[in-house]
């Protein structure tokens, strides 16, 4: 990319807006995933007996199994949320920036 074009885009308020929003959202989502995953892993290391507790007195299913399943679903839901926001909000801004470039 030519540096004058890069300069012009970088000084575009829409660009700064896009980068701020997307960077903030992406890092927030990444931190949510990282914190939840390592909380899960550490609870296995430190409190395995808590995860062995059944979710109900008459149920064979443990909290560990339920949380594990929810983690698989949650990872997918997070990617879905990000893609939705990117398709609607971020792409509109990107198109605007490209048109004015």
């Amino acid at each position: 990319m030519k540096s004058d074009l890069a300069e012009r885009i970088a000084s575009n308020p829409d660009f700064q807006n896009l980068v701020r929003q997307r960077t903030g959202y992406g890092w927030m989502m990444a931190m949510i995933m990282i914190i939840i995953y390592f909380a899960f892993i550490l609870s296995i290391a430190y409190f395995p007996s808590i995860l062995a507790i059944k979710i109900a007195a008459d149920s064979p299913i443990s909290w560990g199994i339920l949380i594990g399943f929810l983690m698989l679903v949650f990872a997918f839901v997070l990617t879905g949320l990000y893609v939705h926001k990117a398709n609607t909000q971020f792409d509109a801004l990107t198109t605007k920036i490209k048109e004015s470039a």
Binding site: M1, A30, I34, I44, P60, A75, F76, Y82
Partner: protein, 553 residues
């Protein structure tokens, strides 16, 4: 490559001949007789993939066709192909076997393997697509010095690819020995020859479609198995778990964390390797350059995450199904009451318990197809590191025409194929359990830090990236060699020197700290230029302006 059709026809005839004529060898190789439905279905799969390769060969003319399937793969197709790359025979048979033996602990691995994908989407996928061309080294070296960065990236990529390849080849040989009654070395040679044919003739286009077909077959087969298990319990999870708890020798313990994770250091270290390793696997990263733009790259991660997550839920049900339907049936047990062929055969035996010889044949053929598709993707990634990064950019300084570069990549593919066959045979009797773990550790400690810092950190210089990449790579390899998995299990020393099996908790910080230190202290004029070039890279990575477009077909 004047007559790809002729080569393919000859090859098909050869493989069919080998597969159907092995009755004579079966007696001394394996006790089991040849499974005709499995062999027939496998031959049908090979014929179909060779036809696709022929179709793809006619559409593979330029380097962009060869490395990136012309950049015309859709997000959904690429998502399926990414899922296919990831759903290897190891994750299908291995995780089902782990659930079969340990219950809940198998789920811990599945979750670790999945959580890297959202991270890849949030932090890397779109920027990778906007900056790269064919390999992730294109992105890492975008504003840095080409020769050193590409050399480091290619070396660590080749280590990852070879570790993964050996694990797949050995797995293929053993699986086929049990399933088809074919001698180990035959199986390794067939896998090696077929992957070289797919990649040399059909490039990324053939590799992608082989991967997509296999992903659909594997997902269908696993869905059918899980549904059959659930059907036998009237779709009542409580009934299924109660029965498994009653039957399993571990009883209630299969529903709770067991011995897989005991100390926090190992837990975090394994978690780091799995979470950040995905974003450093060269055969995964390469797929982001096959789609039209950043939007499709994004969609492909969404699709891949969905299919992989769904697949892990299936393998969990399959593992529990095997506890109930396989572990009590003497037909599947050896004299010592162990599963015939080991715990990894749990899913295979379950397919027989569900659908008899025909369905066993189908699942066996799918397992073999899975290995073929995964090794093809790995080989293409390894060959690209050699031809695009080492030969064309580092050795010839980019002064090489497309035809020559493509020829180099085909020679590299053939060389990798021969190497994979030799190593596959050499490692037959070795303990290879550490290899996939090492591949993820190196990916997380060398490839991921360079890529991440090159994209996000303005002050990264060539000197810092080389120090960080090499430091992470050497630390990861050294720690694994000194740990129990290699020092004791392979070299047979009495005690390991390093008490932890997974190195990432040490090797990832080493990579980041070295990259930081050697960049910050780099006062050379080259470093100043590299920092100055960050601005233009940053604008392109965020907007995609100037990014590699789709081929005009």
């Amino acid at each position: 490559m004047k007559n790809p059709l002729l080569i393919l026809a000859g090859l098909a005839a050869l493989i069919t001949g080998v597969l159907f004529s092995t009755g004579a060898f079966a007696a001394d190789a394996a006790p089991k007789s040849i499974n005709m439905p499995a062999v027939t279905l496998f031959v049908v799969f090979v014929a179909l993939t060779l036809f696709i390769t022929y179709w793809a060969a006619q559409r593979t003319r330029t380097a962009k066709d060869f490395y990136a399937a012309g950049g015309n793969i859709t997000g959904f197709q690429n998502g399926l192909a990414l899922a296919g790359d990831y759903m290897s025979a190891a994750s299908f048979l291995g995780i089902a076997g782990l659930v079969y033996a340990n219950g809940f602990d198998g789920l811990i691995y599945s979750i670790g393997f999945l959580v890297g994908w959202p991270i890849m989407l949030f932090l890397l996928a779109e920027k990778l697509r906007n900056l790269g061309k064919y390999t992730f080294a294109d992105v890492a070296s975008y504003r840095l010095s080409q020769i050193p960065i590409r050399t480091v990236a290619a070396v660590s990529s080749l280590i990852v690819v070879l570790m993964y390849l050996i694990a797949q080849m050995v797995g293929a040989g053993k699986l086929i020995e049990v399933l088809f009654g074919l001698p180990y070395s035959y199986a390794v040679v067939i896998v090696g020859v077929l992957m070289v044919v797919y990649v040399t003739l059909g490039g990324m286009l053939a590799t992608t479609w082989v991967q997509i077909i296999k992903a659909v077959l594997l997902l269908s087969g696993a869905t059918f198995m899980a549904l059959a298990v659930m059907y036998s319990f009237g779709f009542d999870f409580n009934a299924m778990f109660n029965k498994a708890i009653e039957i399993s020798p571990k009883h209630e313990a299969i529903m709770a964390p067991g011995s897989l994770i005991h100390d926090p250091i190992s837990a975090i270290s394994l978690g780091m390797a799995l979470m950040f390793g995905v974003a450093g696997l060269p055969h995964i990263l390469m797929r982001f350059f096959t789609v039209t733009n950043a939007k499709e790259a994004r969609r492909s991660v969404f699709v891949a995450t969905g299919f992989i997550g769904y697949f892990y839920i299936l393998t969990f049900i399959i593992g529990f199904g095997a506890i109930i339907m396989v572990s009590t049936n003497p037909a599947y047990l050896s004299a010592a009451h162990k599963l015939i062929g080991g715990d990894n055969m749990a899913a295979i035996h379950l397919s027989h318990a569900i659908g008899g010889n025909i369905f066993l044949g189908f699942i066996s053929a799918v397992a073999f197809a899975t290995i073929l598709a995964v090794v093809s993707g790995l080989t293409l990634a390894g060959a690209s590191a050699v031809s695009h990064d080492l030969y064309a950019s580092a050795f010839r300084h980019g002064r090489v025409d497309e035809k020559t570069e493509m020829r180099a990549s085909r020679y590299a593919t053939i060389a990798l194929g021969i190497l994979a066959i030799i190593l596959g045979i050499a490692f037959e009797k070795q303990n290879i359990a550490f290899m996939v773990g090492l591949a993820f550790a190196v990916a997380a400690s060398a490839n991921f830090p360079i890529l991440f810092l090159a994209i996000y950190w303005k002050n990264l210089t060539t000197r810092g990236a080389v120090a960080g990449g090499l430091g992470g790579l050497l630390t990861a390899v050294t720690l694994v060699v000194l740990s129990k998995t290699v020092w004791v299990d392979v070299f047979h020393f009495a005690t390991p020197i390093v008490p932890y099996k997974d190195p990432a908790i040490f090797s990832m910080p080493v990579a980041f700290i070295l990259a930081w230190f050697f960049s910050m202290t780099d006062k050379s004029p080259r470093a100043a230029e590299e920092r100055a070039r960050f601005h233009a890279q940053y604008v392109r990575s965020e907007t995609g302006i100037g990014a590699e477009g789709a081929a005009k077909h």
